[in-house]
Every structure is written in structure tokens, then in C-alpha cells.
Symmetry: C2
Subunit: 223 residues, 2 copies
């Protein structure tokens, strides 16, 4: 195990080796603030835009806001992480590098390039991100694949979060700087990607069952 | 790195530490043979049983055979692996321990208790295994949730296989004793859980879209 003197980063475990690490430049409030404001803008834009579509319910408009928010988060934030293995060496205040330098205080497996984390984030950024944008389009234009697409992405988000939490537990659950970062970044922030996909899966599952039941009845009548 | 003299197991990488390892007792042909015969019995039993259900198509009968086979594989073989961290120390010829001692020649992350492998196998054995048996019941009794359940499990199998392959690649793809085990166990055996779930997802996706389209038309007519 390395002595305290050899360690050039704030992360846990302390013996994590990060040669060339450059500390973050932006404060936590700046990083979280920018993400919050950008997300609010995207969601407001989608809420207003969705209002122009005819015969659209309030629930569908809220879902469109969720899918654009989560889709852009997957593609931009998580996409940057997956394809920037050396983000922690970034010498200038690059916003996306700052996000992951900060988030790694809640889970150092990000800065440590854990293979399970990269796998899950890779699938999320490359497959689920674009699929989320397709879901916005599918809801707006009432495509017949809307419910099954939303179910598929939400199940993917749930599976990914499950692998993310279970691997951490199996590897000792000791990747956060302190309890504050553990609960706010690791538990609370990820919690939304458990809660919301679960609600969407339940809703879409019921809609699909109702549609399949209707189809079956029609067949029985005509058959 | 350990010298050859310290290593008591046949697996790659050679510096993998397995204190207390006991070599397998059964031959490859015995292990594969038992799995083949048991699977054939289960599938034959399901094929005959499914014939007694009224108005059931041949495709549905084949699907029932697949779901009982994959469900029992998940619950028994993979379930044993997940909950038996010390299977490689098994001193008597326990069939399930032999399976994983043998399979680890194609992927030593099993005997090495890699956390990504355990996470994926845990989700597969505990959630997907029982869900497969529910799928058999759902197809036989023409439940309205049959297609969405089959889609959900198949997507889970695909997600799990993706994490399984991507983590191996990221970790150096050097876990097989030789090319024979790499291609026969790691690539070929797992390939079935990419091919068949993909076919099922495409089929169910189309069925669900057709049903949702029908539902939408009905609404437009009556609304």
C-alpha cells in the first residue's frame, strides 16, 4: 500500500494509482449548477415544443421531457466518459472532465476505469442514448413501437444500474471519499435511474398487455 | 508473477491464485454429455407436454422448449455458480462443481470470482431463471403478458452477454487455456444466448407493435 505522500488525488481507496492526475478546477456548485441549468433549459424547450403536437396527453409530454433529458445525459456526459480514458489528466477546465473528476468522489471506479463501469456506461451511451431520442420522436408521432421501445430502454437502464451497484458491493463498496459523496452522488443521483425507469416499465407493461389482450379477443371473435 | 512451480491449477492467467484448488474428476465428454442428455430429456418432455395444450402453434411449442431449457440452465447451473464461491475446492465429484471447473478453462473469471461475471450471473439466475419458467406458463395459457415477458427476459440475456464480453475485452481477453476452449466454451456456447434472444426480441417486438397499432386504430375509430 502506498504511503500518503505518494498519493496525488483525493479519491478512495487511497492506494489507487493515477499517474498524471490533475485536480479539478471548478467547484461542486458550479459543476452541478451548469448541469441543472442545462437540463432545465432542455426540459423547458421540450415541454414547450411538445405542446404543439396535436392530441398529446400531459403524461406523454412529461415522458418526452424525461427521454430528452436522460438521452442527452447518456450521450454527452456518459459518452464523454466512455471515450476519454485520460479525462483525469485534463490540464484545462474542460467541463465534461470536471464532471467526472467530481463524480469520482462518489465512485472512484470512474477515475480508476473499472471494466464493469465502462461496459455499462458504454452500452448506455452508445445504444440507449440514441434510443432515448428515438423514444421522444416515437411518443410525439404516436408510433406503434413507442411502448415497447420505452420498456426496452428502461429495462436496460435498470439492468445497468443493477450491475453497477452489485459489482461495487462485491468489490468491497469502498469507493467514495466520505458519506456525503456516497449518499449524494452514488445513491441519490443513481436512484433516479432506478425509480423513473421502474415507473415507465410498469406503465408500458400494462399498456402492452391491454393491447395484446385486445388483439387476442379480436382473433377469437373473427377466428 | 508466480513461478510455474507455485501454480496448482490449469487456468490462464498463470498468476491467478487459487488456494485449495482441487482438479476436476470428470472428463469433458462426461460433463458435456450429461448436460446434453439432461437438456434433451427436458426439451422432449416439454415438447410432448405442450402438445396437449389446445390451439398451440409449433413456434410456441418450440419457444416453450427453449424457455424451460434456458430457465433450468439459469437456475441450476448458473444459480449453483453464484452461490458457491468455493466450488473449485470441491473434493468429491460434484457434477455442478465439475461443470464450472471445466467451463473456467474457457473463461477463468468464473473460478477467479470476477465481480462483473458474478453480477451478471446473479441477475440471470435469480431474476431471469424464474421468469423463464413463467414464460413457459404464459405461452401455454396465452397470457396477454406473454410477448412483453419474453422480450424483457431476452433483452436481459442480451444485456448480460454484452457486459460479459465487453468486460473480458477491457480486461485483456486472456482468460482461456487455449484457442479450443476460447472458441468452443467462451464464443460458441455463449453465442446461442446472443442468437436466440435476438430472434425472440425481433419476433415479439413485431407482435407487440401489431397489437399496439390495432389498439390505436380502434381508439381512432371509436374516439
Amino acid at each position: 500500500m502506498a504511503g500518503e505522500g505518494d498519493v496525488n488525488h483525493p479519491y478512495i481507496p487511497r492506494d489507487l494509482k493515477l499517474p498524471g492526475f490533475v485536480p479539478g478546477f471548478l467547484s461542486q456548485s458550479t459543476i452541478v449548477g451548469y448541469y441543472g441549468i442545462a437540463s432545465l433549459l432542455v426540459v423547458s424547450f421540450m415541454w414547450i415544443l411538445s405542446g404543439f403536437f396535436r392530441k398529446i396527453t400531459k403524461v406523454d409530454r412529461i415522458l418526452m421531457c424525461w427521454w430528452i433529458f436522460t438521452g442527452l445525459t447518456h450521450m454527452i456526459l456518459e459518452g464523454y466518459f466512455v471515450f476519454s480514458p485520460e479525462f483525469y489528466k485534463e490540464k484545462t477546465p474542460h467541463y465534461l472532465a470536471e464532471v467526472w473528476k467530481e463524480y469520482s468522489k462518489g465512485d472512484s471506479r470512474y477515475v480508476g476505469r473499472d471494466s464493469a463501469v465502462i461496459s455499462v456506461e458504454g452500452i448506455t451511451a452508445v445504444l440507449e442514448g440514441p434510443a432515448c431520442l428515438l423514444a421522444v420522436y416515437a411518443i410525439a408521432t404516436k408510433k406503434s413501437y413507442s411502448y415497447i421501445l420505452q420498456t426496452a430502454i428502461s429495462l436496460g437502464q435498470l439492468y445497468g444500474t443493477a450491475v453497477y451497484f452489485i459489482t461495487a458491493l462485491l468489490d468491497g463498496d469502498n469507493f467514495a471519499v466520505n458519506e456525503f459523496y456516497y449518499y449524494s452522488y452514488y445513491v441519490f443521483a443513481n436512484g433516479w435511474w432506478v425509480l423513473i425507469p421502474s415507473i415507465i416499465v410498469v406503465r408500458c407493461w400494462k399498456k402492452i398487455c391491454a393491447a395484446c389482450h385486445g388483439q387476442e379477443l379480436k382473433k377469437t371473435k373473427t377466428g
